[in-house]
């Protein structure tokens, strides 16, 4: 880890002039063989790795239309170059989306196009070399796969798709990232990203029950592996104990309790997160997702609900049906899966949940749209529900609510700076600099509208903000979750109608 100076936040954001190479010293720890092997990857760089890499690129572009189309379609118009938070925060030109894509595209051109084979220098084509591999390793882990570039590209080119392919190629020749690959290994072994044993999860849930009863006087249950529960809750494992996440987890429990919905966590699938997404590994992403299907079948639940996690929700909403479906054994009256915000919003609208907004009067919150939720998912029936539903919950539980600048929200939201496998200590300089656009937007409403807290529905955003806010002299405890606000304001007055039956049935 290197020392670095936290840059100043500016009143008016500035698109910096390029500073080539300025982030070339930053890359994450490489995975050791014992982390690579369980995922089916070589333990270290294989002998003919250049050929293996080029072949793998060929294989991937034959399996993913996105990769093939995006490699051909870029016209280097450059309108993406000022859209990436990592470029805006670091000024390293290889963090500009088109330039980041070109690290791979140049190799694609060399081996798979006529122009690249015959006139490489004219079309920016390169041989696959060790320098190129190291450059890929540096810069493809300086992408959080947030898709902001794909919003503005005239062709919808998504750098995330290219980063995923590059990471899969690198893992396949033996150069994987320790963080993401280790986490995948933990889920496959323990059922969650953190390597928590069943006993540890059980203890955590039990102490939550005690805490909540002590605080509210109400026996809110947090069940584990309960057969026949109506809802299987799949939350990011950080929700079990990290701050501020756990306060949101308590909020989920209160919502289910008040609505009389029986629910359970599964030790086999105690993880919403799916790091298979980050490394572009269909096989590993599928293995992780299948645990949820297995748990749902095993426990005989009728619904699957995901907690507040950004990329988990992307995988859940966009891919779960593909990877682990069909879900014809679940209640067809509910979408599979649902987001906890969809559940809470629906209950709110039907008058099942009541809130005392004054419980949140000490706060003036603003809402940060998390990238995967904003640009890779939906909530509710209509496009854009992923923006309105969480905000409606905030407005229903708080008397104050302020929006940041719209150019930094909705589908143009700025990544928190630590998504896509970059939430590690050794990438702290990247995380702090990448957070700058969001921090500047936040500072504006803190200064002008007296905003005190920033609310999000992503475990990575919550962790990143807690860690990074102090670098800018902001309070780490400014970072909150939506269901934390719910937990504060919800009125728990349900008469006990018995366990195992849902009192409020949909239409």
């Amino acid at each position: 880890m290197t020392d670095f100076k936290t840059p100043e936040l500016r009143e008016i954001p500035v698109v910096p002039k390029i500073q080539p190479g300025i982030m070339s010293h930053i890359s994450p720890y490489v995975a050791k063989p014992e982390i690579q092997k369980p995922l089916g990857y070589p333990g270290e760089l294989v002998d003919n790795w250049e050929q293996v890499a080029v072949d793998k690129l060929g294989e991937l572009k034959g399996k993913y239309r996105s990769l093939q189309v995006f490699l051909d379609a870029c016209v280097t118009c450059g309108v993406c170059t000022d859209k990436c938070h990592y470029y805006l925060g670091t000024a390293d030109p290889k963090n500009m989306p088109a330039a980041r894509q070109d690290l791979l595209r140049s190799v694609y051109r060399r081996y798979y196009t006529l122009a690249g084979k015959w006139f490489p220098k004219w079309v920016g084509a390169r041989d696959m070399t060790k320098e190129v591999l190291d450059e890929w390793y540096t810069y493809y882990y300086q992408c959080s796969e947030c898709r902001r570039c794909s919003v503005f590209c005239p062709f919808g080119i998504d750098t995330a798709e290219i980063a995923m392919a590059a990471r899969e190629i690198m893992s396949s020749v033996g150069k994987g990232q320790k963080y993401s690959n280790e986490v995948i290994g933990k889920v496959l072994k323990f059922g969650n990203n953190l390597g928590l044993s069943v006993g540890a999860v059980a203890d955590t849930l039990e102490s939550l029950e005690e805490d909540v009863e002590e605080e509210t006087g109400v026996k809110v249950r947090f069940p584990l592996d309960e057969q026949g529960a109506e809802v299987l809750l799949v939350a990011p494992s950080a929700d079990f104990f990290a701050e501020p996440h756990v306060d949101g987890f308590i909020g989920y429990g209160k919502v289910f309790h008040q609505a009389g919905i029986s629910w359970t966590v599964s030790s086999h699938a105690a993880e919403g997160g799916n790091f298979g997404l980050f490394v572009g590994s269909y096989e590993n992403m599928r293995k992780v997702a299948l645990r949820i299907r297995e748990a749902a079948l095993d426990l005989g639940v009728k619904r699957i609900v995901f907690g507040e996690c950004g990329h988990a929700w992307r995988v859940a909403y966009s891919f779960l049906n593909t990877l682990a479906g069909p879900f014809d054994f679940l209640d067809p009256r509910y979408p599979v899966p649902q987001h906890i915000c969809e559940v809470t919003y629906d209950l709110m609208q039907r008058g099942v949940l009541k809130f005392d907004k004054s419980q949140n009067d000490h706060m003036v919150p603003t809402f940060h749209d998390s990238c995967n939720v904003a640009r890779a998912s939906r909530m509710g029936e209509r496009p854009g529900g992923q923006f309105t539903i969480p905000r409606e919950i905030v407005k229903a539980t708080c008397n104050h609510f302020v929006e940041m600048s719209p150019e930094t929200l909705y589908d143009a939201t700025f990544c928190c700076g630590a998504g896509g496998g970059t939430l590690t200590d050794e990438l702290m300089e990247l995380r702090v600099k990448g957070a700058i656009p969001r921090m500047e937007a936040l500072k504006q409403v803190m200064d002008n509208k007296r905003v005190t807290h920033m609310v999000s529905i992503c475990a990575i955003c919550k962790s990143q903000f807690s860690k990074v806010l102090p670098y800018f002299d902001f309070d780490a405890e400014m970072s909150l979750g939506v269901h934390q606000l719910v937990s504060n304001a919800i009125i728990l007055d349900r008469q006990d109608r018995g366990e195992g039956r849902s009192n409020f049935e949909k239409g």
Binding site: K61, R65, G156
Partner: protein, 250 residues
């Protein structure tokens, strides 16, 4: 001498047409048969196929995403493409007899189209040279392509306004090529500017399927724009993914 030039251009146009059509067909077939195993539309995204058609329509007609991204690039880019459309449409009169109704209607707009092309291209090229971020990502082929397009539009304007040419003879030549009437091909007028214009167009046709101009067919296949956002409602499965599933079944 002119017989030789005529024969040479005939050969070059046949070759260029074959390369352009075969090259495009190959690429389009490749995009068509490559599966999209996961639902990845950039959200918020349309939830019905009809709405997707509208989304794609707004992109190709109005460059919607580009409009949001950078107003100046949109202005120069859109004006160039509008000009290109007008010029191409108007050029149809050289390949059709009788001339189609709507082409005849567009006739007066053709020259504005040419100026729009040059204006748009010059604006885009200036940006590519002057903005450090865009300069950084530019390859020699990007500049060459701009030069080629400016030269085509420019030489066309020179023919139209300065040097003129026996345009009727040019049309008869092309009609003869299309009817493969090789025994009676019209001899091309001895015009240097005309030859330059035709040669540059041939170069463009040959380079097209190997260049970034593939963005034209590619945009229709972009999954982030052409997919329906309905993964929960309908199970989306690519053939190879189905295979992964059935081979993994216990």
């Amino acid at each position: 001498m002119m017989v030789f030039m005529t024969g040479l251009f005939a050969l070059l146009f046949y070759a260029a047409t074959a390369i352009l059509l075969a090259g495009l067909a190959r690429k389009i077939a490749e995009y068509w048969r490559t599966p999209s195993p996961l639902k990845i539309p950039t959200t918020p995204a349309p939830t019905t196929r009809t709405a997707v058609v509208f989304r794609m329509g707004r992109e190709i007609l109005f460059f919607e995403s580009l409009f949001r991204a950078d107003r100046w690039t949109w202005i120069f880019g859109w004006i160039f493409h509008l000009g290109l459309f007008l010029v191409l449409a108007r050029h149809l009169r050289y390949f059709t007899e009788p001339v189609w109704g709507w082409v005849a209607l567009l006739q007066p707009l053709g020259k504005y189209g040419a100026f729009a092309m040059v204006g748009g291209l010059v604006g885009l090229w200036a940006r590519r040279l002057l903005v450090d971020r865009v300069r950084y990502i530019s390859r020699p082929s990007d500049h060459l392509m701009l030069a080629l397009l400016v030269a085509i539009a420019g030489s066309g304007l020179i023919i139209s306004y300065l040097t003129y040419t026996d345009i009727v003879a040019v049309k008869v030549f092309f009609l003869g090529l299309m009817r493969i009437d090789l025994g009676h091909l019209q001899i091309l007028p001895a015009d240097v500017v005309l030859f330059a214009h035709l040669l540059l167009v041939i170069a463009l046709m040959v380079v097209f399927p190997f260049s970034k101009l593939l963005h034209a067919p590619a945009v229709f296949f972009s999954p982030t724009r052409n997919q329906v956002d309905n993964p929960r409602e309908r199970r989306h499965l690519a053939p190879w993914a189905t295979e992964v599933e059935s081979s993994a079944k216990k």
